[in-house]
Symmetry: C2
Subunit: 233 residues, 2 copies
């Protein structure tokens, strides 16, 4: 129904738009790796198809239909990522590119079977929530960005968002995966944060923009918060 490229635009707009601010042409162009006129043309077509609300010079925001489309692709993407790690031995740094292609080509049946095989998982290998079959996002609990933690905070990694394969590999090699316990030992005044990784006992310094994509939650609330952990190269 919706073309692969259009689905990728839906995802980009979904990530870029905000309660109050729509996704602007230049942002979408950057996210999609195309030039602004391409985006303008695309947004006009998507508006005709009822996928976005669009007014010239004002950016775009998803319609109801557009948001459903975005969530469907996100669901496919995240289920695929988990499938690749669980069933085919991929690690969390490799799965993104593969999933970004395949996400557009799964039949409803196949998605269902993958979901069943994985046991209706709640989150993907990066801790990002997997939309349900009826395209609801179970928004996650008490999470906080590592970049916002005070010195002395002890917390558990629950999500690593929007990171490149390089960064994900580096983090894995530094002992960081979902469930890893960290203590913030220093926040430097020039945009760097240093933690101690509990499993390795080693310190790890990260620039704020990397730390901003790492989300943590309070440690050791026993049970109830069931979650898996994967990778490690």
């Amino acid at each position: 129904m919706v073309a692969p490229k259009v689905e990728d635009y839906l995802k980009s707009i979904y990530r870029l738009q905000d309660r109050d601010t729509p996704a602007m042409t230049a942002e979408v162009a950057a996210a999609m790796g195309v030039k602004p006129p391409t985006v303008t043309a695309m947004l006009q077509r998507m508006a005709d198809d009822g996928l976005v609300h669009y007014q010239r010079y004002q950016g775009a925001r998803l319609t109801e239909r557009g948001e459903k489309g975005a969530l469907k692709v996100l669901r496919n993407h995240r289920l695929l990522e988990l499938f690749l790690t669980e069933e085919l031995g991929y690690d969390w740094a490799e799965v993104h590119d593969e999933a970004d292609v395949l996400e557009h080509h799964l039949s409803v049946t196949l998605v269902e079977r993958i979901e069943v095989l994985l046991g209706s998982p709640a989150v993907d290998p990066h801790g990002e929530p997997i939309p349900t079959a009826d395209l609801e996002i179970r928004e996650c609990e008490t999470q906080q960005s590592l970049a916002e933690c005070q010195e002395g905070t002890v917390a558990v990694v629950s999500e690593v968002r929007e990171s490149s394969a390089d960064v994900l590999s580096y983090l894995a090699n530094s002992g960081i995966s979902l469930g890893t316990e960290l203590e913030v030992v220093e926040t430097a005044p020039f945009g760097m944060i240093t933690c101690e990784v509990r499993t390795t006992e080693k310190p790890l310094s990260l620039p704020t923009d990397v730390a901003a994509e790492i989300y943590v939650s309070r440690p050791a609330e026993p049970a109830e918060n069931e979650r898996r952990q994967y990778n490690e190269a």
Copy 2:
């Protein structure tokens, strides 16, 4: 490198061309579900790209490169079909359409991992040979079409070629799968063949065009001819 649509044309031409006869425009059009002018345009572009030898009014045959391309897609297709049956509970009637889409979107890495997971299988769920990683087809042994068998022949189903989902379902419901032993009990003069299915003890009548797609080999050669059997609805 090669676009999905082009890959499907490669597959069609591969199936249609013969030692002496090239794939003709009308045949390709029928196979691809498009109109002849579309095929002409495509063949001209593919000739420019070095995928086929093409002369106006004379049809097309694959170049070396074109054949490699066709075999790559066939390999992806058949590995996927087997993966879907083995790992995701599909049966042999369902896998074709799914594989026909996904075959164009697998990375080299993913194909390798699927192949390893399946244990470097020789044939797909329909008994069709899976090209090796270096795109060789191990052409199969002593196989014969069921349509050419004499009355009284006892043989084992080793391949079911080019059949629709409906036909495959019917055959499965009739007790036919890879490895099923059959005895030809009658060949009627109006294009029908009747077999007894050894596992069910039931007779089964098939029109010649269906029987022509079923390949059998001599039964009970112990070992050496290792092969799996699947499905059954």
